[in-house]
């Protein structure tokens, strides 16, 4: 073995020991989770703790004539019953929403959706609280309701929000009707209209991304404990953004922010459901402040599915204009957005339709216009980003269905049409017609790799043969090939255009190296299963050369963690991950000065080598980071502060733009409507890959949620505003039996502006997956002249497609 080989081997061994970026490090979290030792909100048990439960409206729209709580209060074990009349003197019967609207905490004069919160019963245990909700007598006068958003702005539509009916200027500009929330437009309308007027080919379709729900396995819950003597509130809850919750609680309760301790312990999945502030949180806080004892609130599944934060419900009239050889010239989209009874979308303040303007997708479309009208209906409020950045699933669904419709009309292959219109590698950074600057991408390479791997050409040949066989009556099965080439926009975001309640959407990391060379680091984000305790440690390990196993990551305690905006919209890695790298580099810079002092050389004479600084040209003269840490507390250079720690609040210069190429092969029995996913291949490019095992897990999970949304999951209402199927009996969550097997792949195009080049991945598979499934279904039926088939594609709906096409004889 020669010297260089020895050096390389030694370096490789030290690198492996770090368990840093790029390795499949096993998760730290799993040691407790596999033993049932996670600590979730409902696990918390405090002395004297009471339990709260809601009385909810059976009506979608009704006037409250009276509320009589006397029978409930008389039940032994009931401690208090709160109604709007109790909250109003405190100014707490309404709370602000993230979208600039207000939302009723407890209904005052009217209820606006079924299961809306009307009263909050506080009792000694959850059984008594539940019993007592049945004893609160509420007299309602039912009112006509609006379920169809297209009827919201009819001249004779009932006015839903009487509290703001005279306020014709909303948070996002003028309102056209008392049931109108906002109109948001972007792009060049005149130029777009002109292109459409002269285009060779145009397509226009109403694409519905239907109402659904993120539905994490753990529902929303909180425990509030107010210490009357200290005037301090401790609030444990299922919070994806614990610091924001602390600020909101301070603003609405008037308690000083430093006397509010918000703690988000382990969270059993979020997917966007746990970003907002809910009536239950507020009522547990008020209950505890009033009673001086801890109050717990835990949603049941019915409450979760029917009240806290639906997703989607975008009705998108989508148009493309193209030349006859398939070059897309313009896109025009109008969205009717059903926001339910209150505008409680969890979007950055200036973006009432989220980042819907990413809808030009992966294509170089020179001219575009987007208009979004938000309206009120008698449904639950929300509009959260369900496993996606703000409204990005909707945007990607629109463009990825639209290019398929265009390909059909042109008689072109759908993959070929996409490739023809891709933004080219040399065009990055690319400024889109609707205002974004895509940081990086190499779409052609990703698409080619995906097509080669899946055997695209052979699949099309097989499909052509199957179609002929079907026409000859030899089979009742049709084959669909779904494609989706998506570009996401994640990592909100630059302060210049992203804030929540006025707070810029930066994020943070604080790293402390202890004298013995072990580390604690805290971030402003909050994992809900993404494995932050594992992956942030890998970033630090690589940056400063301390083994990941010696690094503890802590999130969720607002007293100890630096302020951050939380985890959603795939922002943890793009923003807090960047903060982590920058904070680590600050530490490394100080460590270099200490090492130079220890080795009695100039800083510039040192070079970094995995876990140590060594003297250039003298590899045997070095100080490891562990040695440097000890010196930082023991013998720092003269005039240098002792200690070795750093904090960074990272304000990203741009968002990141992960992308991917997905293919789905599906076989559908036209007589039963049962669709079987034969193959699903997902190629993701999320830039630098921190932990390939976790990335793959995220992709599997996101694809499964995409499968659910596209193939059956839906929150539906009947004409009276009754929510249909707010339990897992009716709401489709795929089991291991239905869930397809997932094939994953990747390319790596690092983000040029991110300190480690990472882009975020948790939401890509959902965003790219939904249109891929829908395209597969639509592609299967296309040769039969079915036209666009709306989601969700459950067996019954697909059976009706066959019925309408006259396939069932």
């Amino acid at each position: 073995m020669n010297d260089q080989t020895k050096i390389d081997q030694d370096r490789a061994e030290r690198t492996e020991k770090l368990q840093g970026m790029g390795c499949k490090r096993k998760r730290v979290e799993d040691v407790r989770f596999t033993q049932g030792k996670g600590s979730y909100v409902d696990d918390l048990k405090l002395p004297g703790m009471l339990f709260g439960d809601f009385v909810r409206s059976p009506h979608a729209h009704a006037r409250i004539k009276s509320i009589d709580t006397s029978r409930a209060k008389a039940l032994p074990g009931v401690v208090a019953v709160l109604t709007a009349a109790d909250l109003k003197p405190l100014g707490l019967h309404y709370m602000p929403t993230l979208a600039g609207d207000v939302q009723a905490v407890l209904a005052e004069e009217k209820v606006l959706f079924q299961n809306q919160e009307v009263a909050f019963v506080i009792a000694e245990d959850r059984y008594i609280a539940s019993d007592a909700t049945e004893l609160v007598d509420v007299e309602y006068e039912a009112l006509p309701c609006i379920v169809d958003p297209f009827k919201s702005m009819d001249a004779d539509a009932p006015i839903l929000r009487e509290d703001i009916q005279d306020k014709m200027e909303g948070a996002h500009g003028p309102r056209k009707h008392p049931n109108h929330i906002f109109e948001w437009t972007i792009g060049d309308k005149e130029a777009t209209d002109a292109v459409f007027a002269n285009a060779d080919v145009t397509i226009k379709e109403m694409l519905v991304d239907h109402r659904t729900h993120p539905s994490p396995l753990e529902t929303c819950q909180s425990v509030a404990s107010f210490d009357k003597v200290k005037g301090e509130l401790t609030l444990w809850g299922t919070f994806q953004a614990p610091h924001v919750i602390r600020t909101v609680v301070s603003l609405i309760s008037g308690l000083p922010e430093h006397k509010i301790h918000v703690i988000a312990p382990d969270i059993g999945g979020g997917f966007g459901n746990k970003v907002g502030a809910y009536a239950g949180y507020v009522c547990s806080v008020v209950g505890s402040i009033v009673l001086g004892v801890p109050v717990k609130w835990v949603e049941d599944r019915m409450e979760n599915l029917s009240t806290t934060s639906f997703a989607r419900d975008y009705h998108m009239t989508t148009e493309l204009a193209a030349t006859k050889d398939g070059k897309i010239q313009a896109m025009r989209v109008h969205v009717l957005a059903d926001h339910g009874a209150f505008d409680a979308c969890a979007d950055p303040s200036k973006w009432p339709a989220g980042f819907m303007n990413i809808c030009t997708g992966s294509y170089d479309i020179p001219t575009a216009h987007l208009a979004v009208d938000g309206v009120y209906t008698n449904k639950a409020s929300g509009g959260v980003a369900y496993r996606c950045s703000f409204r990005v699933t909707e945007a990607v669904f629109a463009i990825e269905r639209a290019v398929e419709l265009l390909a059909d009309k042109l008689g072109m292959d759908a993959a070929e049409l996409r490739i023809k219109n891709f933004i080219k590698p040399e065009q990055f950074p690319y400024k889109s017609a609707l205002g974004w600057e895509y940081d990086s991408g190499d779409y052609h390479t990703a698409m080619k790799k995906a097509m080669d791997t899946i055997g695209y050409k052979e699949l099309r040949e097989e499909q052509a043969q199957k179609r002929e066989a079907f026409k000859r009556g030899e089979t009742r099965e049709i084959m669909g090939i779904g494609i989706s080439f998506f570009t996401e926009i994640v990592g909100a975001g630059p302060a210049k255009n992203c804030d929540i309640l006025g707070i810029a959407m930066f994020d943070s990391a604080e790293i402390r190296i202890h004298p013995t060379g072990s580390v604690i680091a805290r971030m402003g984000t909050k994992s809900q299963g993404q494995g932050h305790e594992t992956t942030y440690a890998q970033i630090i390990a690589t940056e400063i050369g301390i083994p990941a196993d010696d690094i503890m990551i802590e999130e969720g305690n607002t007293d100890t963690a630096p302020y951050g905006l939380g985890t959603y919209g795939s922002r943890s890695t793009p923003v807090a991950g960047a903060a982590t790298a920058v904070a680590a580099r600050k530490i490394k810079a100080k460590a270099q000065m200490i090492a130079a002092h220890m080795l009695e050389v100039h800083e510039g004479d040192l070079e970094w080598d995995v876990d140590r600084f060594r003297v250039k040209g003298l590899p045997e003269k070095f100080k490891t980071m562990k040695e440097i840490a000890w010196a930082a507390y023991n013998a720092p250079p003269p005039n240098m502060e002792p200690g070795l720690e750093a904090v960074n609040y990272y304000e990203p210069p741009n968002m990141t733009y992960p992308f991917g190429a997905y293919f789905c092969v599906m076989d559908i029995d036209v007589d039963t409507g049962v669709a079987k996913t034969r193959r699903f291949y997902a190629l993701d490019d999320c830039g630098t890959r921190i932990n390939p095992m976790i990335i793959e897990g995220q992709v599997h999970g996101g694809l499964t949620e995409a499968f659910a949304c596209a193939m059956g999951q839906e929150i539906r209402y009947d004409e009276h505003g009754n929510v249909m199927g707010a339990s897992f009996m009716d709401f489709f969550l795929p089991t291991a039996v239905e869930t397809p097997n997932w094939e994953t792949d990747f390319t790596v195009t690092p983000s040029p502006h991110h300190p480690i080049g990472a882009k975020g991945v948790g939401e890509s598979p959902h965003v790219g997956g939904v249109p891929c499934f829908s395209n597969a279904v639509n592609d299967a039926y296309a040769f039969l002249g079915a036209g666009h088939i709306q989601m969700p594609h459950d067996a019954w709906r697909l059976w009706t497609v066959g019925q309408k096409l006259g396939l069932h004889t």
């Binding site: 096993k26 998760r27 979290e29 799993d30 040691v31 407790r32 989770f33 596999t34 033993q35 049932g36 030792k37 996670g38 600590s39 979730y40 409902d42 696990d43 048990k45 959850r126 059984y127 539905s215 994490p216 396995l217 753990e218 529902t219 382990d266 969270i267 059993g268 999945g269 997917f271 835990v298 049941d300 599944r301 019915m302 809900q528 299963g529 993404q530 494995g531 095992m693 976790i694 793959e696 897990g697 995220q698 599997h700 999970g701 694809l703 499964t704 949620e705 339990s727 897992f728 009996m729 969550l733 089991t735 291991a736 039996v737 869930t739 097997n741 997932w742 994953t744």
Partner: protein, 166 residues
């Protein structure tokens, strides 16, 4: 409400308690016995997060009254580690194969897999998928849960486990 006296064995330990007849087993375990590993996900028996082992059967403890467990022997996730405190084959399998993310379904999933492997020590992938159909996971997409159970089966049986090539 009048309370009933029950005697049962939980994770090998004799337990006596007074419970209301309507108290669900999941609430009895979590709130009276402080065994918070089993979780509540749906209240309707669909999700399986509350799965425990009762007299050699997988039981959804949100659909079972505590009084029904009178005289029974119950195992929860807290009783699943090896006697020396190390992770059992299933727990290790879930960690090694990345068979969990948020961890909320994991205790129920492991208890269900435990019963599955007792009844079918070398299940096929299909048998695993059908065997855990009563347990929902929102995070993993099941691929790695299937692998985790295969890993555990191989370890218990002393047969080689080969992770599928990537």
């Amino acid at each position: 409400m009048a309370k009933s006296h029950i005697e049962l064995t939980i994770n090998g330990k004799k337990v006596e308690a007074l419970v209301e007849p309507r108290t669900l087993l999941i609430h009895f375990l979590r709130e009276q016995q402080n065994l918070t590993g089993a979780h509540i996900g749906c209240d309707t028996g669909h999700c399986g997060a509350c799965t425990v082992e009762m007299d050699d059967m997988s039981v959804k403890s949100c659909m079972t009254f505590a009084v029904q467990a009178n005289g029974a022997s119950i195992t929860t996730i807290e009783g699943m580690a090896n006697p020396d405190g190390t992770l059992s084959a299933l727990q290790e399998g879930f960690r090694m194969m990345h068979g969990l993310q948020c961890g909320y379904c994991t205790p129920g999933m492991i208890l269900r897999a435990h019963r599955l492997l007792k009844e079918n020590p070398a299940p096929t992938e299909d048998e695993i998928r059908n065997g855990i159909a009563g347990n929902l996971c929102r995070c993993t997409g099941y691929v790695n849960i299937v692998k985790a159970i295969q890993y555990a089966a191989a370890k218990i049986n002393g047969t080689p486990f080969q992770e599928a090539a990537e």
